[in-house]
Symmetry: C2
Subunit: 119 residues, 2 copies
DNA sequence: CAAACATATGAATAAGTGTTCAAATGTTCA
DNA sequence: TGAACATTTGAACACTTATTCATATGTTTG
């Protein structure tokens, strides 16, 4: 059909086959939303730094703040976000709370991002 | 030394060894920044949808807008961001601009994010 | 060239985000 | 129990960001 060869969005009510194929394969709305939420958590350099720190060792908020050169309050706020995303966990040891990586996926995700950055 | 066993941030000017180890292994500031920037681009469900669409086929802005049920203007704005991040590219074909995935890393990154989401 | 179409862009707006400051909570130890 | 320390929390603020609307740019075709 010659009609489909005419590259025109309006007359053919967009290219129906393309739109249909894309729509069919599109994941559920909630998956897309969750996916964006995860990446949003990684989309802040303070949180990235915290994760790199936790790659090395379990560490208390105080040392994290010192390592990152940031307010302990700021670090604590970011730790809450990481905890809500189930990326890190915290265990109390005496007066201190020791944070640790909860999910090895973190390493995979950051590694895949690094691949893109380092070229 | 008994001193290092005392869990106290203040007296020992934080746990120096921990802080030093973390600081040593921390990537350069600009790498951390770029990394966060990349993830920031993935941290929006509209852009995620666009990328999933491009997994299926090269597609024009008009069809993208139709597939996603969004304004063509909104889609165009997001495409600009994806293009600046060198994740997608656009080639003009007649009146239309066909967008395509520029970087196979995109699939890797989204796959690693999906792993975390789907459990 | 003018009309029609596809896309891009700029300004405006509303919603979201990270840090700071002050204060609250939780824990240890004398 | 009370003083000292570690962490958390809430409100406020400045700063981003995504979408919309209007308009501009670029392309084809009669």
């Amino acid at each position: 059909m010659a009609l489909t060869d005419v590259e025109n969005c309006e007359i053919h009510e967009v290219h129906e086959d393309n739109v249909r194929r894309v729509t069919e394969k599109m994941p559920d709305e909630d998956v897309l939303y969750d996916l964006a939420e995860v990446f949003k958590v990684f989309g802040d350099s303070t949180r990235i730094k915290i994760l790199f720190a936790l790659f090395e060792e379990d560490i208390c908020v105080c040392d994290l703040a010192e390592s990152l050169g940031m307010t302990q309050s700021a670090v604590s706020h970011q730790l809450r976000i990481l905890k809500q995303a189930r990326l890190v966990g915290g265990r109390r040891e005496g007066k201190q709370v020791i944070y640790y990586l909860m999910d090895e996926h973190v390493r995979t995700i950051i590694a895949s991002g690094l691949e893109h950055v380092l070229e």
